[in-house]
C-alpha cells in the first residue's frame, strides 16, 4: 500500500479538491483506494455525500475498529474514512501517546491489506498531526498556488522536514489554482520550475468547473470528464503514480 499525503501549511490552495479527484483517478486506474479525511471540517467527506462522523470520535484512531469506520463511495474501488469534528483534538490525543510521532503510522498500517493506495487529506497547519502524517506517508504531495507567499511556505515546509529528520520523505509539489492569464503566475512557475527538481509538470487550473464540485458533490471527472481540470487531475495522477 502506498500512502500519499495531500498537505499544505496554508489553507485554500485546492488541497481537498485535489485529494478527492486524485483518489477518484487512483480508483479509476485500478488501485483499491482509501481516502482518509483527516480535516475536522470534513470537506472531502461532504464532496462524497458522506456525513463527517466517525463512531467513537477521534479516539477511534488508536483502535482496531478504526477500519469499521470505512464507507464505500459511489465509485467502484474508492472508499472513504470520514472526518469527525473531534479530529480538532487529534493533536492533543497524539501528544498523550507513548510513540507520539508514529501513532498515525500505526493506524494507517491497519489498511495495508485492503488497499493499494491510501490518500490522506490533512488539515492545514504545521503541528504534531502533520509530523505524524509525514511519518506515515511514502509521498508528500504539496499544492502550490503561484504566489510569493507560497514560495515562502514551501521553504518553511522543507526546513521543517529537515529539522524533523524527514529528509528522506519524498516531496512532490504541483501548481494549483493557476491562472495562466496572470503574468505573476507564469513568471513564478517558470522560476520555481527551473530551480527545483521536485515540481510536477502538470498544473491544476483555477477553473469554475472545479468550484462546481460544491454543487455537484462529485469528482470533476464525473460531471465534466472533458474539462481542462478533469484532464489535469488525470495527468497529475499519472505523474504521481509513475513517481518512484
Amino acid at each position: 500500500m502506498r500512502v500519499i499525503a495531500l498537505y499544505s501549511i496554508k489553507g485554500g490552495v485546492g488541497k481537498t479538491a485535489a485529494a478527492v479527484n486524485l483518489a477518484w483517478q487512483s480508483a479509476r486506474h485500478g488501485c483499491r483506494t482509501l481516502l482518509w479525511d483527516l480535516d475536522p471540517q470534513g470537506a472531502a467527506s461532504w464532496y462524497f455525500r458522506i456525513r463527517p462522523t466517525l463512531a467513537g470520535g477521534v479516539r477511534t484512531v488508536l483502535k482496531k475498529r478504526l477500519v469499521d469506520g470505512v464507507r464505500a463511495t459511489d465509485y467502484p474501488g474508492l472508499d472513504l474514512l470520514p472526518a469527525d469534528f473531534t479530529y480538532r483534538n487529534l493533536d492533543l490525543l497524539l501528544d498523550a501517546q507513548k510513540k507520539r510521532r508514529r501513532t498515525l503510522a500505526k493506524a494507517t498500517d491497519r489498511f495495508a491489506g485492503d488497499y493499494d493506495c491510501l490518500l490522506l487529506d490533512c488539515a492545514p497547519s504545521i503541528s504534531l498531526v502533520s509530523e505524524n502524517v509525514f511519518r506515515s506517508a511514502d509521498l508528500l504531495l504539496h499544492p502550490l498556488v503561484p504566489s510569493t507567499l507560497s514560495v515562502r511556505t514551501l521553504e518553511q515546509l522543507v526546513e521543517f522536514l529537515r529539522e524533523s529528520g524527514l529528509d528522506d520523505l519524498r516531496l512532490l509539489n504541483f501548481f494549483s489554482m493557476v491562472d495562466r492569464r496572470r503574468k505573476l503566475h507564469r513568471d513564478l512557475m517558470d522560476t520555481l520550475g527551473a530551480h527545483r527538481g521536485d515540481v510536477l509538470a502538470t498544473t491544476i487550473p483555477n477553473a469554475s468547473v472545479v468550484e462546481r464540485m460544491g454543487v455537484e458533490r462529485r469528482p470533476v471527472g464525473e460531471y465534466a470528464p472533458r474539462s481542462a481540470a478533469a484532464v489535469a487531475y488525470r495527468k497529475l495522477w499519472e505523474e504521481v503514480d509513475a513517481a518512484p
Binding site: 485500478g30 469506520g69 464507507r71 464505500a72 459511489d74 474501488g77
Partner: protein, 514 residues
C-alpha cells in the same frame, strides 16, 4: 440442501410479476436510480475451485464494457474491474486492478474456466439515501441458464442485493423492504442455482481424496470402490491435460495414477496378484509417459526463481534456455496428448473399467472385513518406513532417500484411502507427522530433478555464457541439496519419536482393541 449462508441476500421474483410490477414495488419503498443493464453473466473459477474455497465468486459481464466482479461470499462486498474483452485465463496476464490484486494470488498457476453462462438481463439499480448517496445496489435478474439439463429449473428471476462497505444498516433496510414487498428469499445463491441447472454443484472437484467407507464391508468390494473413484479423478483431469490448460491438470492426473498404483499394490492379495498384473503394468507405463512433461512443467515453474542466482549477462544467456525448455515442454505435451487420444489408451481404459465393474476377486483376503485389512497394510507400510529410514546414514546413496520418499508416499495414500475407518483427530495427526517428513524428502527430490534437467540442456547447443550460467545454477542447487541431505537424520529423528511410534501403533497395529 440447506440454504447457503451468504452476505449478499437474494430474493425470488414471483413468476407472475412483470418487470414493471417489480420496478413499481421497489420504487414504492426505495429511492432507486437506474445504473444500466447486463445482458449476460458468466461465472468463473479454477478447476479445483480455488476462489470459492477462499470465499469468493467471480462473475464476468461480457460486452463493450466488459466487467469482472469478485464477490466476497461472507459479506457480499464486491471488487470490480473493467476488462478489454474476455478475461485472460491466467490472472497474471490481467491488467492491474482490484480483482487481479485479490484473486490473482489465490489462483496462482491455475487457469480460470467458465463454469456456467447466463443470458437474459439484469437491471442494475443504485439505492440512494436522502443525501443522494448510493448506499446499496440491486440487480433485478431475469436469466436463462445456457445448456441447462433437460427438466432442470433453468430460469432465474431474482432480486440480488449488493451491499457496500460501511453501509450495513442501509443494506439491512433494503432487505427488509424487499421482504415487505412480498419477494420470497431464495434458497440458494444464483451461482449454486445456475450450476444445479447444468447438473453441477460448487466445489464438485477437490485434489484431496475423501471417501466414506464402511468398516465391515469386504475388502474386495471396497478395493473396487476406491479404484473406481481414482479412475474417475483421473478421467476428470484428462481433458485439461490433453489441452494443457494449466500444469495442475497433469499434476492431478498423475496423482490419481500414483494413488491407483499404490492401491493396486496394496490390494494384490485381495483382487488377485495375477489378475492385477497387466493393469499394474499399464499404470506404471502411464506414470512414465506423463513424467517427462511434468518434470518440464515443474522446471519452467521454478525457472524464474533460479534466475535470481545469476548476473545480468547470464540471465540474458539463459533466457534462450527458457525458450528451449518451453519448446521441449510443448513437444512433451503434444506427445502426451497424442497418447491420451490413441486407440491403445482407449482400449486400456475399456479393459480396466471392465475389470473394475465386473469379475470376481480371486485373492485370499477378498472376504476380509476392510477394517482388518486396512490395519494390516497400514502397519506393514509404516514399519517398512521405519526400517528403511533408520538404515539411511551419511554415506547412503541419494537413491535411498528417493526410495524412502516413495515408501512414504505409498503410506500416505493408504492412510488417505482408509481415513474414514479411523478416529478423525489421531488420523489427521498421523498424516501430518508423515507429511512433515515427506516435505523434506520432496525438496531433495525436486533438487535432483532440477539438476538433471539443467545438465540435459548442456547437451544442446548452449553457448559459452549459457554453459557458465548452467554451471552456476547447478552449483547453486547442488549446494542447497547438500544442505537438505545433511539435515536428513534430524528430520527422520523427528518422525521416529516414541510419541509417534505410540501414535501409529495405537491406530494400526493389528490385534489391538478398536
Amino acid at each position: 440442501m440447506a440454504a447457503a449462508r451468504t452476505g449478499a441476500p437474494e430474493f425470488v421474483v414471483p413468476v407472475d410479476w412483470s418487470r414493471a410490477r417489480v420496478r413499481r414495488q421497489l420504487a414504492e419503498r426505495l429511492n432507486i436510480r437506474d445504473e444500466g443493464v447486463d445482458r449476460a453473466l458468466v461465472f468463473y473459477d479454477t478447476f479445483d475451485w480455488l476462489l470459492h474455497r477462499a470465499g469468493y465468486a467471480l462473475e464476468f459481464v461480457p460486452g463493450n464494457d466488459a466487467l469482472a466482479r469478485l464477490i466476497r461470499l461472507s459479506d457480499g462486498l464486491v471488487q470490480a474491474q473493467n476488462l478489454d474483452g474476455d478475461p485472460p485465463a491466467f490472472m497474471r496476464d490481467w491488467p492491474r486492478g482490484p480483482v487481479k490484486t485479490v484473486a490473482g494470488e489465490l489462483t496462482d498457476v491455475r487457469a480460470l474456466l467458465p463454469l456456467v453462462r447466463l443470458s437474459g438481463s439484469a437491471d442494475r439499480f443504485a439505492v440512494l439515501n436522502r443525501e443522494g448517496k448510493t448506499v446499496c445496489r440491486l440487480s433485478v435478474d431475469k436469466w436463462q441458464v445456457d445448456n441447462a439439463s433437460a427438466g432442470a429449473e433453468s430460469t432465474l428471476s431474482r432480486v440480488r442485493v449488493v451491499p457496500l462497505r460501511g453501509w450495513r444498516e442501509e443494506a439491512d433496510a433494503v432487505v427488509a423492504a424487499l421482504a415487505d414487498a412480498g419477494f420470497p428469499s431464495a434458497a440458494t445463491p444464483t451461482l449454486d442455482a445456475a450450476l444445479a441447472a447444468i447438473g453441477r454443484q460448487v466445489r464438485d472437484y477437490s485434489q484431496k481424496f475423501r471417501m466414506s467407507l464402511s468398516p465391515n464391508r469386504d475388502a474386495a468390494g471396497t478395493a473396487r470402490d476406491i479404484l473406481l473413484r481414482l479412475f474417475d479423478d483421473m478421467q476428470r483431469n484428462e481433458e485439461g491435460t490433453k489441452r494443457d490448460i494449466d500444469p495442475e491438470f497433469l499434476h492431478d492426473y498423475r496423482v490419481a495414477v500414483r494413488r491407483t498404483r499404490s492401491a493396486l499394490a496394496a490390494f494384490r492379495d485381495v483382487l488377485g496378484d495375477q489378475v492385477l498384473d497387466p493393469h499394474r503394468k499399464a499404470f506404471r507405463n502411464l506414470g512414465r509417459l506423463t513424467g517427462n512433461k511434468r518434470n518440464l512443467d515443474v522446471h519452467l515453474l521454478d525457472f524464474d526463481r533460479h534466475l535470481l542466482l545469476l548476473d545480468d549477462e547470464q540471465r540474458a544467456a539463459v533466457a534462450e534456455l527458457r525458450r528451449v525448455l518451453e519448446t521441449q515442454c510443448r513437444h512433451a505435451g503434444e506427445q502426451l496428448a497424442a497418447h491420451l487420444k490413441s486407440a491403445d489408451y482407449r482400449a486400456f481404459k475399456r479393459r480396466y473399467r471392465t475389470f473394475l465393474e465386473g469379475g470376481t476377486a480371486s485373492g485370499p483376503s477378498a472376504a476380509v472385513p476392510v477394517r482388518d485389512f486396512a490395519d494390516r497394510v497400514l502397519w506393514k507400510s509404516y514399519r517398512r518406513i521405519l526400517k528403511d529410514g533408520r538404515a539411511i546414514g551419511a554415506k547412503s546413496p541419494d537413491e535411498a532417500l528417493h526410495e524412502l520418499r516413495k515408501r512414504g508416499k505409498q503410506f500416505r495414500y493408504l492412510m488417505e484411502f482408509f481415513q474414514s475407518l479411523y478416529p478423525v483427530k489421531p488420523m489427521k495427526a498421523a498424516i501430518a507427522e508423515l507429511k512433515r517428513l515427506q516435505d523434506q524428502l520432496g525438496v531433495f527430490q525436486d533438487q535432483s530433478v532440477q539438476i538433471e534437467t539443467l545438465e540435459s540442456l548442456r547437451a544442446g547447443d548452449a553457448g559459452d555464457v549459457a554453459s557458465k550460467a548452467i554451471d552456476r545454477l547447478v552449483a547453486g542447487i547442488a549446494a542447497q541439496q547438500r544442505d537438505t541431505r545433511a539435515h536428513f537424520a534430524e528430520h527422520f529423528a523427528r518422525f521416529d519419536t516414541k510419541a509417534n511410534r505410540t501414535r501409529y501403533a495405537s491406530l494400526f497395529k493389528p490385534g489391538k482393541h478398536h
